[in-house]
Amino acid sequence: MIQTVNLQKLFSTEEVETTALNGINMEVRDGEFVAIMGPSGCGKSTLLNILGLLDNPSEGEYNFYGTAVARMTERQRAQLRKGSIGFVFQSFNLIDELTVYENVELPLLYLKTPADERKKRVEETLERMSIMHRRNHFPQQLSGGQQQRTAIARAVVAKPKLILADEPTGNLDSKNGEEVMKLLGELNDEGTTIIMVTHSPYDAGFAHRIVNLFDGKVVTENFHV
């Protein structure tokens, strides 16, 4: 379970101070699929980054599966992040110099998974995402849908407890977007917790719960059945 208490995030430059998050209290149970919605600039992505241990809050508490992480150093967060969180981005963020196979393999390399185990897991995951036939291609040789499926494969290959998706269908046409959402739904059905930022009400429909943000605050929470 993850839980935040009164999360605050301030961004300050020399002249302007912006409050991106202003007292977020939120709880996500294991196996939940939560969508975060709201207009541009409401703090969705900032929240996702903090939840994903990529950033620290300015104030407040964050309990990540029983560990208080709000004051952790970058190094400690990186250790914790490794293997327990998978990320999916709008712009895929694949490494251009690596093939599909190598991109997916990367998290396992950092986890020091033995080679034969690695091979097995990567191949399983590629099969599952239906991109096995593209394993030796480079990202720029793939369609957007294939790239995002590769990115999802990379996010799940280490079997993380939590997947964070930041507008995963934002760069895709509707057919490919549909496929990606179905994949995320299936992963959730198998027990993976998913938190997804999205602008699309359709995509949000795949979630159990929608958290609406406005000006850095939670305004409403809608529950699906």
Partner: protein, 788 residues
């Protein structure tokens, strides 16, 4: 994991071909320079270290103080009088062996029909007690004691006795005496200050004048006993001059220098070694380091500049679990890979450049790939370069924040931009420094070449006088030479008038303080010496054959007149090697040694039997004719000897061989340093243009001209070059002033050298940058704005 790093590294090298080639090629050039210089430095430092117990072998010099003025500088003679070696052998128990050598003449060796000139020495008995060379045949120590035997080296043995035993065979030296080969020894390595092809017993050529303390002409070496220090031996030797040399020379103090220092520390000032060739070793060591740094700077600059393109990868890796340390490791291993690629390429470059480098620097360096030390150097260089050039990019790239990058908010910050500027300034400071060096060294070399020495060195031929069976034959020959229509005049001399070596304390004149040692350079000459060399006579006349009294008369230069404190020396009586005689002429001071030296007192004795060179001044425009005529004449008189003539101005150039090498090398390395710097600047400009693509587009839409955009993009770089100029100029001025101080006669460091260096650096930088700037300025703004 490493495989993953390497994969990325290789692929990103291949993907960005321009940057990769700038990186690899720039580094390879830098490394090749460093390697070449490294090989050279290693060779220079290895001189005379191969002798067994080299640190116990010492070269003997003699310090003289002025008894009337103890505060005056101590003078140091690098050659010693003949009796010194015997006195040391007899008196000094600290010394295990002593050796005296002559200057090392080139003699004609003849075996059957085969003749060739070989350099060798007349040496005292204990040569091999001092210099222990491996024996190939015979007993060299015993052979050297025999007046009718000769010791030769392997090379000479193989040349004259190609199919068989040299031992016991006879050979003829200088068409004169025959010697039996008593022993063959191993060749002396090239990195030895002592070089010879043959050795003959000292006594064979010993003459009476060699037994006096007043004539310093010989090289003395000693081998110390084990556990004896130089200082102990010097202290023991301090009583030798007072005890043996007589009251004219009692201030002489032998001073020892370990033979391992002889090559690099041969300059003495006030009785102490003050350096010498080591300065050049240091300078070029620094140049090597500079060039390597310049190449590393390119790598660092391009890597941080291109961090935007690598940033996404850093972000992704961090998100999927990379720690900062593993990213730093990744980027370091990338720079290692580049460095290894570069060093491989540089080995090829060194291999290609080595023959020309050897020709320029007068060395015989080789790239011996079986030499483990070479590999150690090569690997060390690769690792140092990899770490040096990769550490900042690794540090910087691994510190990037993943969220900023992945959300597209990434901008290369001010930190690395400043760092890059500092590096460019550093790079161009070094380049400006080298350009100033090139110009100043070149100017001094021009000065040396064009300086009027007070004598003519153009159209003067000379060759050694040798092989005449008697004086009559030689006199007849000389008469014929002078009679040739292509010859203006001719004379003979004991040494070349541009490089007079032997000095003596034997000159006496009325009013001389007997306690004070006055050293005067001395030379035997024939008639018409001043006329042939076109030396101006201030007073009196040249020696003339028609004046029989001249055989005990003397000609001096102005410096000698000053030393003797004589206003009108002509007609005054002095005493020197030819006994009591009169001064018949005073020559205007001329440069009789390299321009490192001031003009010293000189005295000429008229005795052409003691001379070694025939000097001929040809008539203007008839040099070729003169050579042909002289060759015919020489063949007729002297059929056994090849006609081996040289030009005096060539010999003059040789006096500055070290400087000449520095001049050429600094030109090469300076150009390379600038080339490498420009490679980096080119890459950086390409990157800046790329980065400011959108800005340029907007400016063009708003009406900016191509010219204004080129200015905009070039201005920043040129500012950096200007700063570099300001920083480098004082440093260059200081260094070169020091270098010029080693010359007694020198050019000045004019302001135009600095102006020209600055102008050149700016121009080169501008040309480098402008290609990219113009390209960017000419791009249609639509293309750069559409991508937004």
């Amino acid at each position: 994991m490493i495989r993953n790093y390497l994969k990325i590294a290789v692929r990103s090298l291949l993907k960005h071909k321009l940057y990769s080639s700038i990186n690899v090629f720039g580094l390879a050039l830098g490394m090749a320079c460093s390697l070449l210089i490294g090989l050279w430095v290693r060779d220079e430092l290895s001189y005379d270290r191969f002798w067994p117990d080299a640190e116990r072998i010492c070269y003997v010099r003699v310090n003289f103080t002025n008894p009337n003025d103890p505060s005056a500088d101590i003078g140091t003679n690098f050659v010693t009088p003949g009796p010194l070696q015997e006195a040391i052998a007899k008196d000094i128990p600290e010394v295990a062996a002593t050796l005296k050598l002559d200057y090392g003449p080139e003699y004609l060796i003849k075996v059957g029909d085969k003749t060739a000139k070989e350099q060798g020495h007349f040496a005292t008995d204990d040569f091999f007690g001092v210099f222990n060379l491996p024996v190939i045949a015979g007993n060299p120590a015993a052979a050297l004691k025999q007046p009718n035997q000769i010791v030769i080296t392997r090379k000479v043995a193989e040349k004259f006795f190609p199919n068989g035993e040299a031992l016991g065979q006879k050979l003829q030296l200088n068409n004169d005496k025959y010697y039996v080969v008593g022993a063959v020894v191993e060749d002396v390595p090239h990195n030895s200050t002592l070089q010879f092809g043959w050795l003959v017993n000292w006594n064979v050529q010993a003459q009476d004048w060699m037994k006096t303390w007043g004539n310093s002409s010989f090289r003395t070496y000693v081998r110390l006993k084990p556990n004896t220090t130089l200082a102990q031996a010097e202290a023991a030797m301090s009583s030798i001059y007072p005890r043996h040399a007589g009251k004219n020379f009692e201030t002489g103090r032998p001073t020892l220098q370990s033979i391992t220092d002889l090559h690099l520390y041969s300059e003495y000032k006030n009785g102490k070694s003050v350096g010498g060739r080591i300065e050049y070793v240091r300078v070029f060591g620094l140049v090597a380091l500079f060039i390597l740094l310049i190449a590393c700077v390119n790598f660092m600059n391009l890597a941080t500049a291109r961090s935007a393109t690598r940033a996404k990868e850093v972000g992704v890796r961090k998100v999927v679990g990379a720690l900062r340390s593993s990213l730093a490791g990744q980027f370091l291993s990338e720079s290692m890979l580049t460095s290894l690629l570069a060093i491989t390429l540089s080995l090829g470059l060194v291999w290609l450049a080595l023959p020309s480098f050897n020709a320029v620097s007068g060395t015989t360096l080789t790239l011996d790939l079986t030499d483990p030390i070479l590999w150690l150097i090569v690997l060390g260089l690769a690792i140092i370069t990899g770490v040096l050039s990769g550490s900042y990019p690794a540090f910087f790239l691994s510190s990037l924040q993943p969220i900023k990058i992945l959300k597209g908010r990434f901008q290369v910050g001010a930190g690395p931009a400043l760092f890059r500027r500092v590096l460019v300034v550093f790079q161009f400071s070094l380049s400006v420094f080298l350009i100033v060096g090139m110009l100043a060294v070149g100017k001094q070399m021009d000065y040396l070449r064009s300086k009027h020495l007070g004598l003519d060195r153009e159209n003067v031929l000379y060759w050694p006088i040798e092989g005449f069976s008697d004086t009559k034959q030689y006199e007849a020959f000389q008469r014929e030479v002078v009679r040739l229509p292509s010859v203006g005049s001719a004379t003979t001399a004991g040494s070349l008038p541009i490089d007079v070596r032997g000095s003596s304390g034997d000159l006496r004149w009325p009013g001389k303080d007997p306690r004070q040692d006055h050293q005067v350079f001395a030379m035997f000459v024939g008639s018409d010496f001043a006329r042939t060399m076109n030396i101006k006579m201030v007073d009196g006349r040249d020696f003339q054959t028609s004046s029989p009294a001249d055989s005990s008369n003397y000609v001096i230069n102005e410096a000698t007149a000053r030393m003797m404190n004589m206003n009108n020396p002509v007609g005054k009586e002095v005493q020197f090697w030819m006994g009591k005689g009169r001064i018949v002429g005073v020559m205007k001071d001329f440069h009789m040694q390299s321009l490192h030296e001031t003009i010293k007192p000189l005295i000429l004795c008229f005795n052409y039997l003691n001379t070694s060179y025939l000097l001929v001044k040809t008539r203007p425009g008839q040099t070729q004719q003169a050579i042909a005529d002289l060759e015919k004449l020489s063949k007729a008189y002297n059929p056994n000897y090849p006609f081996n003539f040289h030009f005096l101005d060539e010999e003059y150039e040789k006096l500055y061989r070290a400087e000449q090498q520095v001049d050429t090398l600094i030109n090469y390395f300076g150009v390379l340093a600038i080339l490498i710097s420009c490679l980096g600047l080119f890459g950086l400009a390409a990157f800046t243009a790329e980065q400011r693509n959108k800005e340029i587009g907007v400016r063009k839409v708003l009406g900016a001209s191509v010219g204004s955009i080129v200015t905009l993009l070039s201005k920043d770089f040129l500012k950096l070059v200007l700063i570099a100029l300001v920083l480098a100029a004082p440093l260059a001025w200081w260094t070169l002033t020091k270098w010029l101080d080693s010359f007694a006669y020198k050019t000045d460091l004019s302001w135009w050298i600095f102006g020209m260096a600055g102008g050149l650096a700016l121009l080169i930088a501008f040309l480098t940058v402008s290609y990219q700037s113009i390209k960017a300025a000419l791009t249609n703004p639509v293309t750069s704005l559409r991508s937004e």
